[in-house]
């Protein structure tokens, strides 16, 4: 029942945004919708925590991991909306965008969130594919929001590469239907039914099907060879959108890959899927680690660090056992810290009007609060003690060292490389002399609040986990 409320409230907000002319109302409605969604998602999470999987209708089905993702989407979505109100106000004040753009922004943002919720909670793989396709389409316009040539180029590449990826994913999902005669459930096949009668499927076909799914949805997750669209899209999109994109959308696509992994594991033994996940994970960590070293723009830097973290999560699920729990924690922490960092980079963009690291100097003097939070966020994302990511990385490595010692050692040094690269750019931006033409004005509290709240949540979560969250994580870990 709550899911319906979630979806309906968001689509209602989108509708109102279309009709109403007044900007204040649009913003207010979207925020209210997001608040409702957040409350509903907590209720759903509680329900799933104590009463197991929850399937209100035939086409909706939420398992433990799904409810975790819903919680994350709701939380990050709320932060993004709260952040985008002052962000867009500052942008319109600086005459970068007009009112129609802002209207379009809120419509597409709400549609995007609806699509994501549908993708997670849909019970049929095809419905999940359709909603993922919907997310791509809705974000395509958001990426070309500033309609500069570079934004156009990024949007076009995003559209084409993701459509190709999803078509391959579509082919993969179709191949899973070989052993099911279309008669049962009037042709409406859900994950469960796929899982049950997967036994008499031809193993070779299952392998190829999983390869298509992994490469297809892998483009959405941004795993290595298919990651090329990610840095362009995330650096050109407005900050709240790129926060949602890299914080949450990547994990949604990953969850779908994991559900397919679950089905293939019943047909053939786990080693095949795990070696694939590990190899893609390692390649993405390697590539992102080396490219982060000399980066020119800080938003691309954050995009590459998302690729690296998705690589580590894939590694975690690939190693299995204890690493799965650590990977789930890593998903939660990453999808909370990364949006905070994107919001802060948005602030930097507003004050310095340039995404280049070279022109951002002496941020500690110009925007003290933002730069302190940026440094804290940097230490959180690259894994420094008080924050949980340090621990989850270590646990993943310790589970993995027994399976692939050489791989883990290479990855440890790659993460050190990432730390060095990221750290070089962070110090270049925060310390140093303030460029003369940047004037010092008071920082708007609303611009800083969302990232502050997110970082505090991460800090709390890395030490104390609420009980229902723990049960959710453990049940999810058992299944995957």
């Amino acid at each position: 029942m709550e899911l319906i409320i979630i979806i309906s409230s968001l689509s209602l907000a989108a509708l109102i945004a279309v009709l109403v002319k007044h900007r204040g109302v649009i913003e207010f409605v979207s925020i209210v919708a997001m608040v409702i969604v957040f409350v509903e998602s907590i209720v759903v999470a509680n329900r799933v925590a104590n009463s197991g999987d929850y399937a209100p209708f035939t086409f909706l089905f939420i398992d433990a991991l799904g409810s975790l993702l819903i919680l994350i989407i709701a939380c990050v979505g709320l932060a993004a909306v709260v952040y985008s109100v002052p962000y867009l106000r500052r942008e319109t004040a600086a005459h970068i965008i007009g009112f129609t753009r802002v209207k379009q922004y809120y419509i597409l943002l709400n549609l995007f969130s609806v699509a994501m919720f549908l993708a997670i909670s849909s019970s049929s793989p095809i419905l999940a594919w359709i909603s993922i396709e919907a997310t791509t389409l809705s974000t395509a316009f958001l990426i070309s929001f500033y309609n500069k040539p570079s934004a156009m180029e990024a949007a076009w590449k995003y559209l084409i590469i993701n459509s190709i990826g999803l078509l391959l994913g579509f082919l993969g999902t179709l191949l899973y239907f070989t052993s099911i005669d279309p008669s049962i459930g009037n042709g409406f096949v859900s994950w469960k039914t796929l899982g049950e009668n997967a036994l008499h499927r031809d193993p070779l076909l299952a392998k190829i099907a999983f390869i298509f799914v992994l490469i297809g949805y892998g483009t959405k997750v941004g795993l290595a060879p298919m990651h090329t669209w990610l840095p362009d899209a995330h650096s050109k999109a407005p900050s709240p959108v790129s926060a949602l994109l890299s914080g949450v959308l990547l994990n949604v696509a990953l969850v779908i890959v994991l559900r397919f992994k679950l089905i293939t594991d019943t047909v053939i033994d786990q080693t095949f899927t795990e070696t694939l996940l590990i190899s893609f994970g390692v390649v993405s960590i390697l590539i992102s680690a080396l490219i982060i070293l000399d980066q020119k723009s800080y938003k691309r830097l954050l995009a590459y660090s998302s690729i690296e973290n998705m690589g580590i999560i894939a590694l975690g699920f690939g190693f299995g056992g204890l690493a799965v729990i650590a990977a789930i924690f890593h998903v939660i922490f990453h999808s909370l810290v990364k949006p905070a960092l994107f919001f802060l980079s948005g602030n930097l963009l507003l004050t310095y009007h340039s995404a280049k690291i070279a022109n951002v100097k002496g941020a500690l003097k110009v925007v003290p609060m933002t730069s302190i939070l940026f440094i804290v966020g940097f230490f959180a994302i690259t894994g420094a003690p008080p924050f949980g990511i340090f621990l989850t990385k270590l646990l993943i490595f310790s589970a993995g060292i027994r399976i692939q010692p050489l791989v883990v050692i290479a990855v440890v040094f790659c993460t050190a490389l990432v730390f060095i690269g990221f750290f070089k750019h962070a110090t270049a931006m925060v310390f140093g002399e303030k460029p003369p033409e940047i004037k010092q004005e008071k920082e708007n509290i609303w611009l800083i609040l969302p990232s502050l709240v997110l970082l505090i949540i991460v800090l709390i979560l890395s030490f104390y986990q609420p009980p229902f969250l723990l049960t959710l994580i453990n049940t999810a870990a058992l299944r995957y």
């Binding site: 070309s144 559209l159 179709l174």
Partner: protein, 215 residues
Amino acid sequence: MNITFLQFLLGVLFLSIIYLHLARKNFEAVVAYAVQSSAITVLLFASFLETNSIYLLFVVLVTLVVKAIFGPVFFFRLIQKHKLTYSVSTYLNMPLALIIIAVFTAISRFQQFSPLTNIIPANHALLSLALAAIFTSLFLIINRKDAISQAIGVLSMENSIVAFAIFAGLEQSPMLQLGIVFDIFIWLIIATVFISMIYRHFGSLDTSTMKHLKD
């Protein structure tokens, strides 16, 4: 609907993709796409005749409207508006492209792809041809520099996947197929809007000029 007729339809599909590779003018490319999608609708109609459920008929109608009519119309309007008669050149010259297409058809017959092609052992040849169609349309996107032909490449890949599904007996419940077609419809609208915006920004549809998002 005997097997030879289905084979003929698949042949039409495959030839249209090859023609897309060779097309000089955008107009010819759009016409090829129209032919292709009509072949797919006929295929769907053939599978409707076997199961004759009303929904399937409705799906066939919708696909006909969306793929065979709306797509080409949008593209034609686009070509007239900006007078983009000539399509931008390709990366590889003609003979080399044909050789690669031949290679792809050979690959799809390989032993590695056997589990794919003999889901239903009877139409092994048809399935391998459909697979080759998928790979060639993917190669089309790589080869052409023109934005329109890239969009058409994506759409033709979608058509060949649907064809593969039909021959492998995997087609979905009509309701889901409707969703997919509706998705393609929105994709079409967005693609045309994007292409016109590219034209406005870059002055030509040559996507190889879009190179400055290097690292």
